[in-house]
């Protein structure tokens, strides 16, 4: 029996790998991180033992009034450390039949007879010393996740403007606050944990600007499909942190400009109407040295697009077994809709089971996980409906505002390309304006540029045959695959329907 290949080591990918392994098949789990967990279950980049041993133990002993108490404190912190470490290792442990390939960048997915070939570079980030590996499989699970959507505004290309995800990654993974006085803006409940992490990392959060209606409305009136979350206490906990630190939270408000010569020195916030147009007379300067913005999330679609999976409304379309429109390719997690870690975990379990079954393993439909998927999807739909991106953001821009950060394409240049060159398709728009041609491959600007150009397809820029930038020497290297596909081998679909 051959193996399942899972791309992505976040909640969905880990669940898929575990589920497939539990059915008795071998699994290769490819992930770009050094450690498992992805962006949500971020494992601290800093070595965890440093966090618990010398500094913490010394601090306990010095503050303890007697030697006996010092001993007690030391043993208690040792026990705590043990417990914390073992909980973490259980959370990220994988079965023996899963090969975890870390520090791995997938740069192409190629359809071959009977399945797909996954091309990977493994090693230090962007280093020419990375080595090539190729994994062929009849059952591929894509769990590549999503990243923050950032909307442009004048000054958003200044150092000091970050995505909300960057602020979160730096605070939680590196213990660094992105600024001393930080304004958090955008839309959706994710802004709350980001603000709380910034406070935890020592920043002064000067405000949270929510462009839609207040997230905290749920806390007072928990109802409908979004109720589950507020009941879990997660949001209430973050809101509590913000209240204790007197962080102002304003709805229907956005950062519409950042100012400074070399770095952010201040920002302009404005009230928004329901369509996100700034309300005249409400612009206000706020002193801040950093801004963290997030307007929901964009799925990492390029591998699914390369595998020719059908994309509907900007997400990978899947059936009840997480199967895509392409036989042998499954998708789980934010790729199929933005719904958070619990939904991703459930989808991963279903996808992993279905992938193992396709390879001939004995597997029953994972009914409990499928139930969690159904309720999770309702939550995801309610979330998307409550926190849309409204077109009024286009009014925040000026002629000289950069819309494509990589190629430094301004709105003026973009519109000129559209008007004067009579650009009709995404491909010609890219070639004529240069927007989306840079190293980020249109990941940051694509959806924004499509909206500015009136192209009604959120995935318009997601076609990236080379899925990640790599060096010419790496492209030229010949790599042989470690195990080839037996196209004749048996196996069945999971056989479930909604």
């Amino acid at each position: 029996m051959s193996r399942v290949v899972v791309v992505g080591g976040g909640p969905a990918g880990m669940a898929a790998a575990r589920a497939a392994a539990a059915c008795g098949v071998g699994v290769v789990l490819v992930d770009s991180g050094r450690k498992l967990g992805g962006q949500y279950l971020r494992q601290d980049g800093l070595a965890s033992e440093d966090r618990f041993s010398p500094a913490a133990a010394f601090a306990d002993r010095e503050s303890a009034p007697s030697a006996a108490l010092a001993g007690f404190e030391a043993s208690r912190s040792a026990a705590l450390r043990e417990a914390t470490l073992s909980a973490a290792s259980r959370r990220f442990a994988l079965p023996d039949n899963v090969e975890h390939v870390a520090d791995a960048s997938v740069w192409a997915v190629e359809a071959v007879d009977g399945g797909h070939r996954v091309h990977v570079r493994v090693g230090a980030t962007d280093d020419p010393s990375r080595t090539g590996r190729v994994f062929a499989t009849r059952a591929l699970v894509l769990a590549t996740g999503a990243y923050d959507r950032a909307l442009p505004f004048p000054g958003w290309d200044l150092p000091g403007v970050f995505t909300a995800g960057a602020a979160q990654a730096l605070a939680k993974g590196q213990g660094v606050a992105v600024g001393d006085r930080v304004l958090v803006g955008g839309t959706g409940p994710f802004l709350l944990p980001v603000a709380a992490s910034l406070v935890g990392a020592g920043a002064r959060v000067v405000g949270v600007a929510e462009a839609n209606a207040a997230v905290t409305g749920w806390l007072r009136r928990p109802a409908g499909a979004l109720a589950g979350w507020s009941k879990s206490g997660e949001l209430a906990r973050y809101a509590g942190v913000l209240a204790r630190h007197r962080v102002p939270y304003r709805s229907r408000t956005a950062v519409v400009a950042a100012h400074g010569s070399e770095c952010v020195e201040s920002v302009t916030v404005a009230r928004l109407d329901r369509g996100w147009n700034p309300v005249p007379g409400t612009r206000r300067r706020v002193e801040a040295d950093a801004v963290a913005v997030g307007f929901g999330f964009t799925p990492q679609l390029e591998l699914a697009v390369a595998a020719r999976c059908a994309i509907v409304d900007g997400f990978v379309a899947v059936d009840a077994a997480q199967g895509t429109s392409v036989r042998g390719v499954f998708a789980a997690g934010e790729l199929t809709g933005i719904g958070g870690a619990d939904l991703a975990d459930a989808e991963g379990e279903v996808a992993g089971t279905a992938a193992a079954k396709l390879l001939g393993a004995e597997a029953e439909p994972p009914l409990r996980a499928m139930g969690r998927v159904r309720s999770g999807r309702r939550f995801a739909e309610a979330l998307a409906a409550a926190y849309p991106v409204r077109s009024g953001w286009q009014e925040w821009l000026r002629d000289d505002t950069v819309v494509c950060r990589c190629e430094e394409v301004t709105r003026r240049a973009l519109y000129r390309a559209i008007d004067e060159r009579d650009v009709g398709s995404v491909r010609s728009l890219r070639l004529v304006s240069g927007a989306g041609l840079g190293l980020c491959q249109g990941r940051v600007c694509g959806q924004n540029v499509a909206e500015l150009a009136g192209i009604d397809d959120p995935a318009a820029f997601a076609r990236r045959p080379i899925a990640a930038p790599l060096r010419m020497s790496e492209l030229a290297e010949v790599v042989s695959e470690s195990e080839s596909i037996n196209a004749e081998a048996g196996g069945t679909p999971l056989g479930v329907e909604y």
């Binding site: 962007d126 970050f162 995505t163 990654a169 213990g175 070399e262 950060r405 990589c406 430094e408």
Partner: protein, 85 residues
């Protein structure tokens, strides 16, 4: 461990990224753009945007937010388009 930023010795620890070291040191931009020569630093923080490019051990175009530091790394700012040295 020790790394060098633009010729200066800097203390770092295992698990820190290049961006983590630089931001902790108060450095907020470390690259200029190819066109207008504008300053750039960290933006997305998760390896997507390629704004935080930096030169590590003579190799340009390394994402500072993803690259973990190694003892003795020579890290330098990057201006415009640079060729490997």
């Amino acid at each position: 461990m020790q790394v060098r930023w633009d010729g200066e010795e800097v203390e770092a620890e295992a698990g820190q990224t290049v961006a983590g070291v630089l931001l902790a040191k108060g450095v907020r931009s470390w690259r200029t753009t190819r066109g207008a020569g504008r300053p750039r630093g960290l933006f997305c923080g998760i390896g997507v945007c390629f704004d935080c490019l930096v030169r590590v051990n003579g190799v340009p175009d390394v994402r500072a937010c993803q690259r973990l530091v190694a003892d003795g790394d020579d890290i330098r700012p990057q201006s415009g388009a640079e060729l490997p040295s």
